[in-house]
């Protein structure tokens, strides 16, 4: 699909890096001079703007955490006065106090530009009708997608969330071609539509969806695309970055992160060390042009890797892979970082066992042990002990190769593993550290 901003999107990589360095340097000088919070942090880290002599020197700068935004509630770390702001959004605060994000006119402009590039990279443009079924209001999803879609010339239908039957009627009557919502809400729309006797695939013009704001998998993409007859694109962002900002392009080979707006690093969540492309770690973002609420080396807590090589679409900007989980869930077993989401993904590929699991970490002597409890599926249950042992060994082998750490597998009776209690019960750590 043709680029929205070809000069920037197809900028040669070395030119892009020079631009990033220039933007980083001026950002750091500006923050050091005018923002008390950043100046204090940089002094604590004993780093001065003059120390930033190359793009890689971003690694000298201090990290920033969600807790910094909470501690600065509501606007103590803003870099703009209230009379320069055109909007506030407020995060839901599910894991603590809410956080407030402010926007200057230019911040809104860059946010819209970012999504305009993203949406057009999937072929959205004039003539399309985009139903925005993200929540409008304090949440960034609705208004963010709205501005991005208007910018590329699409007609926006701002349905927000809820009243699903009416959403489906409007989708048919106004010939909606694209939708932005959470993947689970789109599945719900599909189910409600079937109950109404409407096939999204055959009875609507819907051809693409921008799905995000919650974790989803390649398996789920396959199911959505087949069932609803659309192309489903991953969309990424958080309120701290502005809101939803980045998507995959039509190639569906990772999410393009526009380098003139954001400088990304993948770091080892345990050590803070910068990792190489292809290595899984914690996404850390420096927003190079944000005015009201600058973000420098912000540790988002999402796990992913930078995709290697250039995308077939011709856009030069770096891409990240699908979000694999949250840093908050991370376990360290025998010095190896282990994420429950890795276990979940591995189990999805083994039909002999169910998708529910429990991880039990213990310490025998000086050595950590990791046990994964799984249920044998109905189809795979055999009367023969030897066949059950083969399943157990196969699961152990698969987990070991995807986690890089030895794992014992215990087969348990169906229904005995935690289902909906959330991650707290999925991991039992018996080590007294």
């Amino acid at each position: 699909m043709a680029p929205w901003n070809p000069r920037t999107e197809e900028m040669p990589l070395d030119e892009l890096r020079r631009l990033q360095f220039k933007l980083l340097k001026s950002l750091v000088y500006r923050l050091y001079s005018f923002n008390d919070f950043y100046r204090r942090r940089m002094k604590e880290q004993q780093v001065h703007p003059d120390d930033i002599r190359a793009l890689e020197d971003v690694a000298k700068l201090p990290f920033m955490y969600k807790s910094d935004l909470r501690d600065g509630y509501p606007d103590r770390i803003f870099s703009a006065e209230q009379n320069e702001l055109v909007r506030y959004h407020v995060s839901s605060g599910t894991t603590g106090k809410p956080t407030v994000v402010g926007y200057t006119e230019r911040d809104i402009e860059n946010w819209s530009e970012s999504l305009a590039r993203a949406f057009s990279s999937c072929g959205l443009g004039r003539g399309d009708v985009m139903q925005v079924s993200y929540g409008y209001g304090l949440f960034t999803g609705g208004l963010g997608a709205h501005y991005g879609a208007e910018r590329v010339g699409a007609t926006v239908l701002p349905t927000s969330v809820g009243n699903t039957e009416r959403q489906i009627e409007l989708m048919q009557d106004l010939r909606v071609t694209a939708i932005a919502c959470t993947p689970s809400y789109l599945l719900h729309i599909g189910e409600v539509a079937e109950k109404m006797g409407v096939s999204i695939k055959n009875d609507t013009d819907l051809r693409m969806g921008f799905l995000g704001a919650e974790p989803w998998s390649e398996q789920m993409r396959g199911r959505i695309e087949d069932w609803l007859g659309i192309r489903a694109y991953d969309i990424y962002g958080t309120s701290e970055l502005s809101g939803p900002m980045f998507t995959e392009c039509a190639e569906q080979q990772g999410i393009h992160i526009w380098g003139d707006l954001a400088l990304i690093e993948i770091i080892d969540p345990a050590t803070g060390e910068v990792l190489q492309p292809g290595e899984q770690g914690e996404l850390t973002i420096t927003m190079l042009q944000k005015e009201a609420l600058p973000m420098v080396r912000y540790r988002i807590g999402d796990l992913t890797a930078i995709e290697e090589g250039t995308c077939a679409c011709g856009r030069t900007h770096p891409r990240i892979g699908r979000i694999r989980g949250r840093v908050d869930d991370m376990l360290i077993v025998r010095g190896i970082n282990v994420f429950p989401s890795q276990v979940e993904h591995a189990l999805l590929e083994i039909p002999e066992v169910g998708r529910h699991f429990q991880i039990v970490v213990d310490r025998k002597g000086a050595l950590d042990s990791m046990l994964v409890r799984v249920e044998v599926s109905e189809e795979a249950f055999s009367d023969k002990i030897t066949e059950l042992m083969v399943i157990k060994k196969a699961v152990e082998h698969r987990l070991r190769s995807s986690l890089n750490v030895g794992v014992d597998v215990e087969l348990v009776e169906p229904g005995t593993l935690p289902r909906f209690e959330g991650k707290s019960k999925k991991v039992v750590d018996r080590r007294s550290l």
């Binding site: 249920e375 044998v376 109905e378 249950f381 055999s382 009367d383 023969k384 002990i385 059950l388 042992m389 157990k392 215990e410 087969l411 348990v412 009776e413 169906p414 229904g415 005995t416």
Partner: protein, 143 residues
């Protein structure tokens, strides 16, 4: 005709911890199902409880409804004389016929002792055992 000698055994997946056999046996008791014979095979942290019961279909439904993982397995029951040499006679027949045993367990009842066998070629085993003068349990006995 071989089919009439193929007995449906129920096999139940069980974790290896106290109370699991009690849960299975209690469920069968509450459903009024009689256990004719059973054995427990044990592995690393789990086991398989195998049982011949008078109403296999009902037992399957009862246990499955309670969330147990249950399957049916075809086995045969070879009658033995309940006196010295009884097992030896039957084992010789099986050996001569080239029948390989995957697993076996036995009970000694009022009328006779019975050796329950899981073999890979079950219909062939039935023919071989009958041809060599062995006597088999009728499947109908366990219905």
């Amino acid at each position: 005709m071989e089919k009439s000698y193929i007995v449906k055994q129920i096999s139940i997946f069980s974790e290896n911890r106290p109370g699991r056999l009690a849960a299975i046996a209690g469920a069968l008791r509450d459903a009024g199902i009689n256990i004719l014979a059973f054995s427990i095979a044990e592995a690393d942290g789990f086991g398989v409880v195998r049982a011949l019961v008078d109403r296999p279909e009902d037992a399957y439904r009862t246990l499955t409804d309670l969330g147990f993982r249950v399957s049916f397995t075809d086995v045969i029951g070879v009658k033995m004389r309940d006196e010295p040499g009884g097992l030896s006679d039957i084992a010789s027949i099986l050996g001569d016929a080239g029948i390989n045993i995957e697993y076996a367990y036995a009970y000694s009842g009022k009328d006779a002792a019975v050796l329950i066998l899981r073999v890979d070629q079950v219909e062939d085993a039935v023919r071989q055992i009958l041809a060599r003068g062995g006597e088999l349990l009728k499947a109908s006995l366990s219905r």
